[in-house]
Amino acid sequence: MKQTIRPKRSLADDIAGYAFISPWLLGFIAFSIIPIFFSLYYSFTNYNILGKALFIGFENFRRMAHDALFWQSLKVTFFYAFISVPLRLLFAFFVAMLFNRGTRAIRVYQAVYYVPSLVGGSIAIAVMWRRIFIADGVLNATLAKIGIITDYSWIGSPDTAIWTLIILAVWQFGSSMLIFLAGLRQIPREYYEAASIDGAGALRKFLHITVPQVTPVIFFNLVMQLINGFTVFTQAFVVSGGSGDPMNSTLVYALYLYQRAFKYYNMGYSSAMAWVLVLIIGLMTAVVFKTSTSWVFYESKEGK
């Protein structure tokens, strides 16, 4: 792709440029920059929407360290994100490998496997999900058919409730699968042919051609989905009826933050929680980026 390089910058360009990006720029200032500064300020106050905001230093953060529910929500969220995201990517990659072939039916299969990703974020699915895993739900009815009779409530038991949310997330592997499939199809056929001539088997080809070629895509998806995993809200809110129950086993971080802000109106405390979340996401992203040099393969192509 070639672009004409225009070395001289003119005032007319500046005016036109800022005019075109003005919707975003204004929105950025009004809905991101200003709120971010307010949020930072609130996190050091005891603001509760009714009274005046009183500066209390690091009190919110100190309180957080002694808040059992805060730690519980962190535990739940880490568990949720670090199990659901790798599982989903693994499924997506496995199925993409399976679909990376010439059959015409693949297009239909692809579409069918994508449907859960399409509807998975909706309230209808979250509401229905509850009905699958409750004591007299469809899962136990199916189990009864194969002889396992139980009235165990998967949603109502603290040991399994979070797993229903994890399954809901993994079930939506279709969008990652489509992205991986596109990545797999871009691998030049010659690589495999050359490897075959050199006598490489299927496993060697997979490990030395397929995997290195798709790691940049896996990497990008890992980062984005971990961020999404850490901020999961809607599903936990609907499946647990807004409470994070049973016994706070589905009290994900964003749900606890929401409760603090809009149930108890601890705006200061919830702002402080939001910044801890930023810190966690930032650290996690940094770790993934740092380690990525050892496992993400970048082609040294010029001018890309």
């Binding site: 672009q3 910058r9 036109a16 440029g17 800022y18 075109f20 990006i21 919707p23 975003w24 204004l26 950025f28 809905f31 991101s32 971010i36 307010f38 949020s39 609130y42 929407i49 399976l98 679909f99 069918v112 994508y114 449907v115 859960p116 990703s117 399409l118 509807v119 974020g121 909706s122 309230i123 209808a124 699915i125 509401v127 229905m128 509850r130 699958i132 007299d136 469809v138 009815a141 009864a144 058919k145 079930w171 279709g174 992205i179 596109a182 895509v217 984005m224 989905q225 901020t231 809607t234 609907v238 009826g241 802000a261 809009f262 702002s271 929680m273 939001a274 979340l277 930023v278 996401i281």
Partner: protein
């Protein structure tokens, strides 16, 4: 038939059997909800059969009117209103901003473009509380303004998509339009915009999906039943404390998924392309 051919056929059939079986398991929850919308409540939980014994439509009527004062006509109207206005705003703004970033060499361009990407990394939870307080002070609670107006600033993912598309358009087109006397805006509206159709369609579809499914926004800002979107209404309808009429809930749940599924069937190709170009989650 040679042994080789035989092996091929067995391998192929095995592939299709496994893929179809797994596909059935994946679609089962959705099919279950769909068929339950036509069953009686007793049938849903007593029969293990997926298909209803007779197709009843009265679930839809009961569900539509479940709330005595406000029916699903209002909820669907609200959802369509919120979704369509937001989508129009988001897509047009994103195209404008995308053109600015892709084509105009103004000072500070790369800085602002980097800022845009940075906002993707910042979780909504950070701005949620201050935004709520600002909108509260503006008296915008219980209106669609806090939900719609931010969309008119454009959406980073769509802007990125537009930039990618515009960069592929040769500069010669801009230059010849300039010679013909077009200004920046008419170059954008007459030359560029018609050429980025796929990016516009993809953004429109994803915007529609995200707004239609949006839950946290309406939960924060819409507290009157008359303003509820379909998502909020479904959640109220299915409150685990009080709800019992599951076939009616499933009927409304099924209806709420219809717009999403219809768009998917029509625009499948664009959706796949959008996913692949931006790597965004569907």
């Amino acid at each position: 038939m040679t042994e080789h051919r035989m092996r091929y056929i067995i391998k192929e059939s095995l592939f299709h059997i496994i893929v179809i079986a797994l596909g059935y398991v994946m679609l089962y929850p959705i099919l279950w909800m769909f068929f339950n919308s036509f069953k009686t409540n007793a049938e849903i939980f007593n029969s293990g059969v997926l298909l209803p014994s007779s197709w009843k439509l009265d679930n839809f009527i009961r569900g539509w009117e479940f709330n005595r004062s406000v029916s699903f006509s209002v909820f669907f109207y609200n959802s369509f209103y919120y979704t369509i206005i937001s989508t129009i705003g988001a897509v047009i703004a994103s195209a404008l901003v995308g053109y600015g970033f892709a084509r105009i060499p103004f000072r500070g361009r790369s800085f602002w473009y980097a800022c845009m990407f940075l906002t993707i990394m910042i979780p909504y939870q950070v701005v949620m509380v201050p935004q709520f307080i600002i909108f509260h002070k503006l008296g915008w609670i219980n209106s669609f303004k806090p939900l719609i107006i931010p969309q008119f600033a454009g959406v980073p993912f769509f802007i990125f998509l537009m930039v990618q598309f515009i960069r592929q358009i040769p500069y010669e087109l801009d230059d010849s339009a300039k010679i013909d006397g077009c200004n920046r805006f008419s170059i954008f509206s007459r030359i560029i915009f018609p050429l980025i159709g796929p990016a516009v369609i993809t953004s429109t579809i994803f915007s529609f999906y995200w707004r239609w499914d949006d839950f946290l926004g309406p939960l924060l800002y819409l507290n009157k039943i008359r303003l509820f979107t379909v998502s909020l209404a479904l959640r109220m309808f299915s409150d685990p404390m009080t709800s019992t009429d599951w076939s009616a809930i499933f009927a409304m749940g099924t209806l709420s998924l219809l717009p999403v599924l219809i768009i998917f069937l029509i625009f499948q190709k664009h959706i796949v392309q959008g996913l692949v170009t931006t790597g965004l989650k569907g």
